[in-house]
């Protein structure tokens, strides 16, 4: 076992009971660490990428030692103090996999998948710029969405010139279709 005295710990935790066993299993499967465990017994482990690279606990070695630690923690008779250090073996392994702390169900909550007013505003701004680029002089613009229908009123001094309303509809739809809009009506005033 390498000496850890010259390493800066990355963290410290106290565990007792089944929650601690669950935490240790997750640490094994997703990260690289040198772990020092202390209670009435003392042990050291190097875990990385789902493997127990080295381990010692209660006279046992390797994976047996790791399993014994988990059993000891889960029994819950004592608090086990865990100190986490960078894994000496992990340095070159760490870049190979991503640490997945947040499960899919937790990140894909509504908060992330929904649409904010900023997104709506940006689409409207994009529409405005596209219409201007078409040569349409937009003095004022009003857009109203109801269900899957969108009504766009454009106040423009270009009124009277030959303007392709279908083309405008197509541009607008391009931007608002992802928002669930199926029908666009355009009024020039």
């Amino acid at each position: 076992m390498p000496s850890v005295s010259n390493l800066i710990p990355l963290g410290y935790a106290m565990v007792r009971g089944p929650c601690g066993g669950a935490a240790l299993r997750k640490i094994l499967s997703s990260t690289c660490y040198l772990i020092k465990a202390r209670s009435s017994k003392i042990g050291e482990f190097v875990v990385c990428n789902g493997k127990v690279l080295r381990g010692s606990w209660d006279g046992l070695e390797g994976e047996d030692a790791w399993n014994a630690l988990i059993n000891f923690v889960e029994k819950g008779e004592e608090v086990v103090h865990l100190t986490f250090y960078p894994s000496p073996e992990g340095a070159e392994l760490e870049g190979e996999f991503e640490v997945m702390l947040v499960t899919e169900g937790e990140t894909s909550s509504e908060y992330f998948s929904g649409v904010g007013a900023v997104a709506l505003g940006k689409q409207v701004l994009a529409i405005l710029h596209r219409l201007t680029a078409l040569g349409l002089d937009v003095e004022d613009l009003e857009l109203e969405v109801s269900g899957s229908k969108l009504l766009l009123k454009v106040v423009s001094p270009s009124k009277g010139k030959k303007i392709d309303l279908e083309k405008i509809k197509k541009i607008v739809l391009e931007y608002v279709e992802p928002l669930g809009i199926k029908e666009v009506e355009v009024i020039l005033a």
């Binding site: 601690g20 990260t31 660490y33 702390l101 904010g116 857009l143 109203e144």
Partner: protein, 245 residues
């Protein structure tokens, strides 16, 4: 036997403002425990996403006056803390916020004798809106004060995205029943955004053609908003506009 899963973490931030602490953790995407000393409250975040809380949510009512520490976690520490069964799971910061009952505010917008309290509760751009009913329109705003007054008096729950086509700033607002729950101003060529009452300062003196998008938020927390007594005093002595402690 009592189960125990507790991680120490490394102190990352120390201050007196709970909402600022939360916003720091969220914007940095930290795995951390936001810890209020008294009334005791711990909120657990993993990579900036709220996971749960334990303790007393009344901390939010004095959110500008609490001693709060942010302890950031290494991956192993986060995995241990996540196993702590005492945390009450919440799906999103919105669901945590919806559990808050009362907040004391120190900033307000005062127009036409009306006081609109301003909170730093949430970034309005993170609020989901109803995409089946929304409006967007351009308006020549000559008197921004009057514009905000009319909007706030005549609406219940709106998320605004306001872009000044004249001056190029963008102001996002979550407005709920008389109070601004959050406001953020983005100015051209400025990296830092401005939040809260300060976000109104520039737009209030920036008339011009505005593109205003209004949508219905899915979250408008039913929070009792109380004015800080010192703020009330200041409002009595102040002119109209932004008033803050």
């Amino acid at each position: 036997m009592t189960e125990l899963c507790w991680a120490l973490g490394t102190i990352d931030w120390k201050g007196k403002d709970l909402l600022k602490a939360i916003n720091t953790v969220r914007s940095k995407g930290l795995s951390a425990r936001v810890s209020v000393v008294w009334p005791t409250l711990d909120i657990l975040f993993i990579e900036g996403v709220v996971m749960g809380y334990k303790g007393d949510l009344s901390s939010f009512s004095v959110s500008h006056h609490v001693d709060v520490n942010v302890f950031s976690f290494s991956d192993a520490e986060a995995l241990v803390e996540l196993e702590d069964k005492d945390y009450i799971h919440v799906n999103s910061i919105e669901s945590l916020i919806s559990l808050i009952k009362e907040i004391t505010v120190k900033e307000a917008l005062v127009i036409g004798g009306r006081v609109f309290p301003i909170l730093h509760l949430i970034d309005p751009s993170s609020i989901n809106v109803d995409v089946t009913t929304w409006r967007s329109f351009t308006e020549d705003v000559d008197e921004p004060k009057l514009f905000f007054y009319n909007e706030f008096v005549n609406n219940e729950a709106v998320v605004y995205n306001i872009v000044s086509l004249t001056d190029n700033w963008t102001l996002d607002i979550l407005y709920c029943r008389g109070s601004v729950m959050g406001a953020t101003l983005y100015m051209p060529e400025q990296v830092e955004t401005v939040t809260g009452a300060d976000a109104f300062l520039y737009p209030l003196s920036s008339p011009g053609k505005w593109l205003i998008t209004k949508a219905r938020p899915f979250l408008c927390p039913e929070i009792k908003v109380r004015l800080d007594p010192e703020l009330e005093e200041k409002i009595k002595k102040s002119e109209e506009g932004v008033v803050k402690l």
